[in-house]
């Protein structure tokens, strides 16, 4: 019995996915729920488990291809026999057709579907055919209204850039195109983005120099992964939309370093969780964000949206890129809860087990260039936040205290903030609050 494997919908606003890797070859056996292929969507990368046990009979969508959700990407022969004998094929048919007369016919009708016959493939593949024109391998998403208006005004939709959710061409876009007397040049569309709340408009990644100046000598060309493209688009938009300002400060971590040294063995034994520095930073940032709510905000045109929840995005470096899972309602968690949540999110980021909603709705972000030996770094704001904290490496340094030189564990902290919303005075007071909370840490961790 063939079982169709489809591109899953990995979240409400996701309409397509790219197959990045097949983990099984046609003819190989798969167990139910065993990882079958890897996908990459606008929001997350994920391993997709097999919906049934059997033999992978056919792969319909190859690696690197992007298809709409629910498209059939593969077929599993759930009987477990790739070269099915008529006897095997008849077994499930019997269950469905109780009449003795029907059993005689059953092998004849089911065999073509089960046997690896090339004739059966085109008919099945047709159901996965793209419904709309493509350009650059992207499906053009619009709506019945937009398609009617495009037809009536003779506009080629594949030449338009959409500002709707996920780059969808909306009524607004097509009306604008009609008004300006035809398709707008693609580069013009991102300029209209400030009115778009939430989802990042699709951005054209332009070159800074003419292409001929890029290719010289010996080289190889690697296409960007979907994740790489999303990071690139996000960074370009963030830098263009948000005027970044940077504040640099340092904090004396000696108390916390000593506390951690003293308690980490017991902490790990008691809770079976590693004790890291991250929850200390998250906790102190929460104090700062509570005191200065404009840092825990988003900008929407001429409005500032002050978030009542504190949802902290924590950058996790992956071998294949970067992702920022969000620790939701961080202000409601105790120290142990923070540490558990941080470890859990990071672990699931590395094993591609994050859900799309877990990388959304952040209100502030933290990145930690220090773990890779960086003294410090100046991060780019993670939209739609207005600020991001960079944590440098903790190092012992000579520090002057009361006119004496002491050896203290120091860390550089940087804050990149959006000057549309946050001014220097607020940013430095926020940093002061975080710094003093770190230096005067009084809470026990056990």
């Amino acid at each position: 019995m063939p079982v169709e494997v489809v591109m899953p919908q990995m979240g409400e606003s996701i309409f397509e996915g790219t197959i990045t890797k097949w983990l099984k070859k046609p003819g190989e056996k798969v167990e139910r729920d065993e990882p079958l292929f890897e996908i990459s969507t606008d929001k997350v990368d994920a391993e997709i488990p097999a919906p049934a046990a059997g033999v992978l009979k056919e792969i319909k969508v190859g690696e690197g291809q992007t298809v709409p959700i629910q498209t059939v990407v593969a077929v599993i022969d759930a009987d477990g026999a790739a070269a099915a004998t008529p006897a095997l094929a008849a077994a499930p048919a019997k269950a469905e057709a109780p009449k003795p007369a029907a059993t005689a016919l059953a092998p004849a009708t089911t065999t073509p579907a089960v046997a690896p016959s090339p004739a059966a493939a085109p008919a099945a593949a047709a159901t996965g055919a793209p419904a709309a024109p493509r350009r650059d391998g992207h499906r053009v998403h619009s709506s019945p209204l937009v398609r009617r208006l495009a037809r009536e005004h003779n506009i080629d939709l594949s030449t338009l850039r959409g500002t709707g959710v996920g780059g969808r061409i909306s009524k607004k876009d097509i009306l604008a195109a009609i008004q300006t007397g035809g398709p707008r040049p693609p580069a013009a569309a991102p300029g209209a983005a400030p009115g778009v709340p939430g989802a990042l408009a699709h951005v054209v990644l332009e070159n800074a120099v003419p292409r001929e100046r890029i290719y010289f000598g010996r080289y190889e060309v690697q296409p960007m992964s979907v994740m790489r493209q999303r990071i690139a688009e996000h960074m370009v938009v963030s830098k263009r939309v948000s005027p970044h300002v940077y504040s640099l400060d340092e904090a004396d971590m000696t108390r916390i370093v000593e506390l951690r040294e003293r308690t980490k063995g017991e902490f790990e034994k008691r809770y079976e969780v590693k004790l890291t520095f991250m929850p200390f930073f998250v906790r102190t940032c929460i104090e700062g964000l509570r005191a200065f709510p404009t840092v825990n905000a988003s900008a929407d045109g001429t409005n500032v949206v002050l978030h009542h929840e504190i949802n902290i995005g924590i950058a996790v470096a992956l071998d294949w890129g970067l992702i920022v899972p969000v620790l939701k309602n961080a202000e409601e968690k105790n120290f142990l809860g923070l540490q558990r949540a941080i470890n859990d999110l990071a672990e699931r980021a590395r094993t591609k087990k994050l859900k799309p909603e877990e990388v959304q709705e952040g209100t502030f972000s933290i990145t930690n260039p220090g773990v890779f030996g960086g003294l410090t770094g100046l991060p780019v704001i993670n939209q739609p936040n207005v600020a991001i904290l960079g944590i440098g490496g903790i190092q012992k340094r000579p520090v002057v205290i009361n006119d004496a030189i002491a050896i203290r564990s120091m860390v550089y902290l940087t804050l990149s903030y959006d000057h549309r919303v946050v001014d220097g005075a607020v940013a430095h007071q926020f940093m002061g609050k975080v710094k003093s909370a770190l230096e005067n840490w009084a809470e026990g961790v056990l």
Binding site: S143, P144, R148, V165, S170, K171, V196
Partner: protein, 324 residues
């Protein structure tokens, strides 16, 4: 001029129609001496006497059966269900006899069945129902569910004057909470006509009864964000006012349906189909529903709050749809 509550408007309609037409009679549990569980019929016994305001035994089947017979003999009975939930008891009388009588025997039944409906007042699973869709699925009936005092009065008067059975749902949350000044002169509101309560260009919100007020409140908030929602009050669910719905969707190109009835089989599905049939090429986004959950109405107040749609759920859905 004094403001009149939704409840008082219903009483005014009953009073005026009984004054106007001696064939109009009331039947129901405790509608006479006690004046009705919600006091909708208070004072009517005193004014019109026991022959026209009849307290009945507790048998909804008997009440509606008797009323159908009265209708055949020239009276215009108005039956009260003490709570509309109990209308399930006379389902057979309504769907097999009242609804089909005109079609099968050429004998119309000029019957109105009215009663307090809907949740939001912690009435629990047996005193909060919105059973309108059982009857919207029944050809031969008319189903009315007003949202305002003006409409409650005008629609009930039209229902009483209609020669065929009309089910008149009254939202009990609105009984004393919604009020307005009513015209001194006589008026009626036609059955089968929806009304645009608030004009808008960005999306259409279709609703009725208590959720119409929720939708209007949501539209007010959305307007502050620059999203202009058009709010349509259905007023009559059967027959549906197809023209008003399609005209609005053809302008706004997006549709959100909000109802307090549970989701599966709610009227939102019917409206979605109707709009797909009549205005598919005008749609610029998916048709979205905000409804109650597919469970009985919970008794626990926090659970009921979770069960019912509210302003913020409508705002969230409308916001998503607007930026789609």
């Amino acid at each position: 001029m004094a403001t009149v509550t939704y409840l008082e408007a219903i009483r005014q309609a009953l009073f005026e129609e009984m004054e106007r037409d001696p064939a109009v009679v009331l039947l129901g549990e405790d509608v006479g001496v006690y004046g009705g569980a919600f006091k909708v019929t208070a004072g009517l016994l005193e004014r019109f006497g026991w022959e026209r305001v009849m307290d009945t035994p507790i048998s909804e089947t008997a009440i509606v059966g008797a009323a159908i017979g009265m209708g055949y003999l020239g009276l215009r009975p108005v039956v009260e269900m003490q709570f509309i939930d109990f209308i399930a008891c006379c389902f057979n009388q309504l769907t097999n006899f009242a609804a089909k009588s005109h079609y099968r025997w050429g004998a119309p039944v000029p019957l109105v069945v009215r009663g307090p409906s809907g949740g939001g007042v912690h009435g629990g699973p047996f005193h909060s129902a919105n059973p309108e869709m059982y009857f919207v699925h029944t050809p031969g009936l008319k189903v009315v569910y007003p949202a305002t005092a003006y409409d409650a009065k005008g629609l009930l008067k039209s229902a009483i004057r209609d020669n065929n059975p009309v089910l008149f749902f009254e939202h009990k949350f609105l009984y004393r909470r919604t009020k307005e000044e009513l015209p001194a002169e006589e008026y009626t509101v036609p059955l089968g006509k929806a009304v645009v309560r608030r004009p808008g260009r960005d999306l259409t919100i279709v609703s009725y009864a208590a959720m119409m007020h929720t939708s209007l409140e949501a539209a007010e908030l959305l307007s502050k964000e620059g999203i202009e929602a058009e709010v349509i009050d259905l007023r009559t669910l059967l027959p549906l006012d197809r023209e008003t719905l399609l005209a609005s969707v053809k302008q706004t190109n997006k549709l959100l349906v909000v109802h307090e009835d549970t989701r599966t089989g709610g009227i939102a599905g019917e409206i979605a189909a109707l709009v797909c049939e009549g205005a598919f090429e005008d749609l610029d986004g998916p048709i979205v529903r905000v409804t109650s959950l597919d469970t009985p109405v919970p008794f626990s107040p926090p659970l009921e709050e979770r069960f019912l749609p509210n302003v913020s759920r409508v705002v969230d859905a409308a916001r998503e749809l607007a930026r789609y």
